[in-house]
Symmetry: C2
Subunit: 202 residues, 2 copies
C-alpha cells in the first residue's frame, strides 16, 4: 500500500464553499482535488493500492480528516476533475458535521471515510508504516532503497508544515526530496507515484 498524508492548513471543514470558486472560497480545496487526482488516477485506470488521508484545518469546525481507501473506492465516484472531487469532499464534510467522537470514522461513500482526527492522530495511526516527509532539502529520493510495502508519504499544502509539525515528525519520518525546486503537492504525488512504479514498488 502507498499512503499519502496531506495536511491542508486552511481547507474548509464544512461544505460552505462555492464550487465556482474553490481557490477563493474553500481554503484551497482545489489543491486537494488535484492531489487526489495525482494519487489515484492513471490513464483509463485507477490506482487501487493507494490510500490518502487529508486533514482539513480551516473554518468553521476543524479538524476533519477524510480517508480515501483505493481498494474500496468506486473509480466512477472519484472523477479526475476538480469540481467532481470537490463535490465528494463536500458530501463527506456534510456528514462530518454530526460526528462527536474524536476517533470515530463514518463511511460516506464506499472507501471514503470522515472523522475528527487531527494531523497528529493520522500520523500516529501510521507510525508502523515506513514514513517519509517530503521536504525541500531532504535526502534525494534516488538515494533511498524503499521497502516493498507500507510506504507513507507526508506532505503539506501551499502553506507547508509548521515548526511544531516538523518537530513532532522528527525521528518518526525520514525527510526526503524529489528535486531542486519547491513543487506543488499534486506534482510531488505524481512524481512519487511514477518513481515508485519505475523502481518496481507495487
Amino acid at each position: 500500500m502507498r499512503v499519502f498524508i496531506i495536511k491542508a492548513n486552511e481547507a474548509h471543514t464544512d461544505f460552505d464553499f462555492s464550487l465556482k470558486d474553490l481557490p477563493g472560497t474553500s481554503g484551497r480545496i482545489d489543491l486537494i482535488c488535484r492531489a487526489l487526482n495525482a494519487a489515484f488516477h492513471l490513464s483509463h485506470s485507477f490506482r487501487k493500492n493507494v490510500r490518502v488521508y487529508v486533514t482539513f484545518l480551516g473554518p468553521p469546525d476543524p479538524p476533519k480528516t477524510i480517508r480515501f481507501e483505493g481498494p474500496k473506492i468506486r473509480p466512477k465516484i472519484l472523477n479526475p476533475d476538480e469540481i467532481s472531487i470537490a463535490k465528494v469532499i463536500g458530501k463527506a464534510l456534510k456528514v462530518g458535521r454530526n460526528i462527536r467522537n474524536p476517533t470515530k470514522e463514518v463511511e460516506v461513500l464506499p472507501g471514503i471515510f470522515i472523522s475528527r482526527m487531527t494531523f497528529e492522530d493520522v500520523v500516529r495511526r501510521n507510525v508502523k508504516m515506513n514514513l517519509y516527509l517530503l521536504e525541500e532539502g531532504g535526502k534525494d529520493i534516488s538515494n533511498l532503497v524503499f521497502p516493498k510495502d507500507n510506504l507513507a508519504f507526508i506532505l503539506g499544502d501551499h502553506l507547508g508544515l509548521t515548526k511544531e509539525d516538523l518537530s513532532f515528525l522528527e525521528g518518526i519520518a525520514e525527510k526526503i526530496s524529489i528535486g531542486p525546486k519547491a513543487y506543488l503537492t499534486s506534482h510531488v504525488i505524481s512524481f512519487v507515484n511514477i518513481y515508485l512504479d519505475r523502481v518496481g514498488i507495487p
Copy 2:
C-alpha cells in the same frame, strides 16, 4: 526552453462549454487545464522557461491552437485551478472565432496566442527543436542524454495520438517513456519537468 505540444482530440474550439461541467461539456478541457498547471506552476513560483501549444480539435470550428508563452505570461492570469485556466482558454477561443488566415496568431493576453494552426503545423514549426514523443513502450527517459536547450515534448490526451499522427512523427520525434504504466497527460508533464530539473536542464 522546454516546449510541450499537446493534441486535444475532442477539446471544443469555441467557448460553448459550461465551467460547471468541463468534463461533460468541453471535450475534456479539464484535462488541458491540469496539463497547463503541470507545465507552468511551481510552489509560489512560475516556470518562465516553458512554452505550451495545445491544438483543439473538437467542435464547432477545428482546428484551433493556443500557444502559452512562459516568458511573457503574467502568472496571475494563469492561476493553478481548472476553472481559472478554462476561463482563459474560453477567452482565447472567443477571439479565435474571427481569425481567417490559417497561419496568423492573435495575442489574446500577454503571452497567450490563438491561431488556426493544425497539430501538424505546430510540429513543423518546432521541427528544429529536439523533439520527443511521449509514448508507452518508448525508450526509457533515463537512457537519454538531453541537450541543454530546445527540448520539445509531444503528448496526446485521453484518446492519445492516431496511427496517422504516429506515422507523421516517425523519424521526426524520438519515442520516449517515463514509466511502466499509462499515465495522464498532466502527470507526464509534472514528471518530465521535475526529471529535467533533476538532471540539470534549465
